[in-house]
Each structure stands twice: as structure tokens, then as C-alpha cells.
Amino acid sequence: MSTPIIEVSKLGKDFRAGHALVHALSDVSFAVTEGQFVTLVGPSGCGKSTLLQILAGLIGPTRGEVRIDGKRISAPIPEKISMVFQDPTLLPWKTALANVEFPLDLRGVARPTRRERCSALLELVGLREFAEHYPHELSGGMRQRVAIARGLAQDPRLILMDEPFAALDEQTRTRMGHDLLDIWEKTRKTVFFITHSLTEAIYLSDVVMVMSPRPGRILETIAIDFPRPRELDVIGSEAFGRVRNRIWHLIAEAEA
């Protein structure tokens, strides 16, 4: 087997908050194989976002190390890793298409090339007719689709998603999850996803990692083997409920 795309070993992160030292992460180790959809769940404030920021190279760890594609990460590597945030963070003065093109524009990719690639990506996320719309003319779900297309624009190997659907209503959220799987099946990028929603985590993932309250540790790594492509009906199945319960108990016991 080839080297995993993400290798995290004995990772720890401390913050200084005033005079107090906060242990955000402690002894976190795991590996992610290329092409997998991996989700991290855990209670609020357990250090999930901190872990994601370290994976992205935005902040450095206090202890341990992160290797992306075999190389130790110390700064963002946009050609390999892209991020999708809870807030789409689109540029309000640019159209949907121009927003998707923006990362390529900064890297000096010629306009015809990036236009072609980004139009295809907008089509992939189902927004072909909205290419010339501005963010304020799009719904919350559509904006997040633009952000996903933008995340794919640099053709990264790994996409880090920080609760991307948390701000959406439940209907839209479920729909977005379904469509994200569709996009993932087509692109087969490695996805590292953070969420509060156990249902979302189990429905989307190959692997769900459960994190403890602060200091965040990986309590358990659970392989989810519902067949793909998955339909939303799987959420109602008994097997799904069992996995959900198991994770719920893991988190509840850790919090107690």
C-alpha cells in the first residue's frame, strides 16, 4: 500500500489563554488513505477545528507532526490541500464563476484555461445557470456549493471541510450531503470532514473518528461499510441506528 495522504503522529497543541495554558489536543495519531472520506466528530470545543487548521498548515503543532503525502507540513500547500469553511467566505463583488476562478487567478492561470475548468466545476455542483450571479443572489446552500467548486478548482488531493453545512437548514443540509457524496464519487478526492451531526458523519464517511472533549484525543476509529453509492434511505436502517448509538454513547461517556 502506498503512503497515506495524511499521517498524524502524537500530535499535541497547547494554547495560552491569558495566564492559563489550554490543552486543545493531546496525543492524536491517525492515518488517512488517499481517496477516503473521513469524518471527525466530537463535542463542541474539543479541538476539531484546531486539528483541521494544523492539517491545513495554518497553525503549527506544539508536539508531534503531520505529514501530508509523506512531507511534513509547515505552511498551507494550496496545490495539494484546499479548505471549505462553515461560512462560504465568497468575495461579494465577484460572480459565482469569478469566485471559483479566484484561487487560479492568483496563481496566474490563463483566463481561458481557468474559465473552462471552473465552468465545468460549477456544472458539477449543479450551478451552471448561476455562473454570472453574485453571492447575495444565491441561497445559503448555493453559496456553499460555489465554495465547494472553488475548493476543487486547484485540483487538490485533499479537501478539508470544517462543518460546511452547519449553517444550513436541515432540508438543505441533507440534500447538500447527498450531493457532496455525488461529487466525491465523481472526483474521488480525499475528504477530511468535521461535523457535529452524527447522522451526517455516518451517512457520508468511510471512516468516522470520534474525538474526546478537551484535550481532544481520538477515542475510536469506526469503519462505516454501508455500500456505495449510498441513498438517503440508509439513514433509516437499523444498522445505521446501531452505529449512531454506539458513537453517541462513546461521546456521552467521554463527556461524563
Binding site: 495554518l58 469553511f85 467566505t89 468575495l91 484561487p103
Partner: protein
């Protein structure tokens, strides 16, 4: 072809001018207080050349002062707004200076720079700089951290982050500052011309006032008004161009 509306406006304007002329001619108001339209035209006819030179002087002073005030204000605002420490250090200083009627330092400027155009330009810059710098700083400080995280995640260089993300995001607030500041530049230049100077429209207004040449005073006022209106039209245009972002800012989320 003229639309009925335009004809109506013309008739009202002509009637008002005629009434104005009549009021003065009939001696209802002293010619020293109110110059008749004919006197203003006469002033333009006799001393048009002098006024034209003065107009050019003032326009050059105003344009120079606007360019410098915009550049300095935006640079200082962006730099100060980029760092919490710098902002905390400069914001109180900038806003307290802005609260002072700056005209009190003009005597000093005259002593240092003389009564020529230089002191007018410097005073104009001083007048406009503070609101521009303050608003730009506020605009930069209001930018949410998520945009900067996004910029880093896509590998934007510092220059790209400023030019392509921070600057446009701060632009609406910056333009509010430019509106206020540019108006103050125009006022600053004309007022200091009136105080002490040897050229410019402000000087001519002040000079003819002492000679009771009310027609000339009014003609100078018309020229000053034209400059103010031209500046305002430009600013409104600018405001309208970024106006749409202001709406967007509120809804993007």
C-alpha cells in the same frame, strides 16, 4: 426637441433671474448686498481673464491636495488598520486631531510655507486626510478573520491579500471617508485662499469683497460652487459604483 419638463424649468429659471434683476434695479435691495445677474455677467466680461487664471490656480491646488490626501489617508488607514496594536495607538490620535478645527494651525503653515499655493495644498491635505484615514482604518479592521484564513489557505501572497481581498473589502468604508474628506479638501483650499493669498478664486472673492465689487464676489462664488459641484458629482459616481458592495456585505454570510 425639448421635453415639456425642460421647458418648464427654463421658464422658471428665466423668471427667477428676471425677478432677481428687477429687485436690484428697483433699489429694493442694495447692490452691495445683492449683485444683479447683469452685474455678475459684467464682472465675468471685464475680469474674465483674471478669474480664469485664479480658477486654474485653485483647481490645481484642489486636485493636488485631493490626490495627496487620498494617497496618504488610504495608506495610513490600511497600515494602521492591519495591526491591532497600531490601530489602538493611532485611532485616538487621529480622531482627536480630526475633532480640532484645523484652521487654527493655518497661521503656522503660513509662517512655514508662505502664502503661496503650497500652504493651501498642505492645509487642504490636512483637512481631508483624517476622515479618509479613519474610515479606511475602520473598514480594514471590520474585515472578518475568515477572509484572511481563506487567503492563506489558497496561498495568496501578502501583496495579493491586500490588493485583491483586504482593499476591496474595505472599499465601501473607504469611500465614505473619501466623501467627507474630499469635501473638506475643497473647503480647506478655498478658505485659506480667502484668508491670505495672492491668487485663486478664494483670494478674488475676498479681494473684491473689500472693494465692494459685489458682482465680482458673486462671480467668484459661482466658480467656487462649480468646483464643489464637480467634486460632488465625481464622488457620487464613485459611491454608486461601490454602492452595490455595501448591500452585498450585509447579505453575504
Amino acid at each position: 426637441m425639448m421635453r415639456p419638463r425642460a421647458i418648464k424649468v427654463l421658464i422658471i429659471a428665466a423668471a427667477s433671474l428676471a425677478a432677481w434683476e428687477a429687485v436690484v434695479r428697483l433699489g429694493l435691495v442694495s447692490q452691495i448686498i445683492l449683485a444683479a445677474p447683469s452685474a455678475i455677467v459684467a464682472a465675468a466680461a471685464t475680469d474674465g481673464r483674471v478669474f480664469l487664471t485664479a480658477f486654474a490656480t485653485t483647481v490645481i491646488e484642489i486636485v493636488a491636495a485631493i490626490l495627496i490626501a487620498w494617497t496618504l489617508g488610504i495608506i495610513v488607514g490600511v497600515v494602521a488598520g492591519s495591526s491591532n496594536m497600531l490601530a489602538a495607538a493611532t485611532a485616538p490620535v487621529l480622531s482627536s486631531i480630526f475633532a480640532i478645527p484645523l484652521i487654527i494651525v493655518y497661521p503656522l503653515l503660513m509662517a512655514w510655507l508662505g502664502i503661496g499655493p503650497l500652504s493651501k495644498v498642505v492645509f487642504g491635505v490636512l483637512s481631508g486626510f483624517f476622515p479618509i484615514a479613519l474610515n479606511t482604518m475602520d473598514g480594514v479592521r471590520a474585515i472578518e478573520r475568515r477572509y484572511l484564513v481563506f487567503a492563506r489557505s489558497i496561498g495568496a501572497t501578502t501583496l495579493q491579500t491586500y490588493a485583491r481581498i483586504i482593499f476591496p473589502l474595505a472599499l465601501p468604508s473607504m469611500v465614505s471617508g473619501l466623501r467627507v474628506g474630499t469635501g473638506l479638501v475643497v473647503i480647506g483650499v478655498i478658505v485659506t485662499e480667502m484668508l491670505a493669498s495672492l491668487g485663486g478664486v478664494g483670494f478674488l472673492i475676498s479681494y473684491h469683497r473689500t472693494l465692494f465689487n459685489t458682482g465680482h464676489v458673486y462671480f467668484g462664488m459661482v466658480l467656487a460652487l462649480m468646483m464643489a459641484v464637480a467634486v460632488n458629482v465625481g464622488l457620487t459616481w464613485l459611491d454608486r459604483r461601490v454602492g452595490r458592495w455595501r448591500i452585498l456585505e450585509r447579505t453575504d454570510g
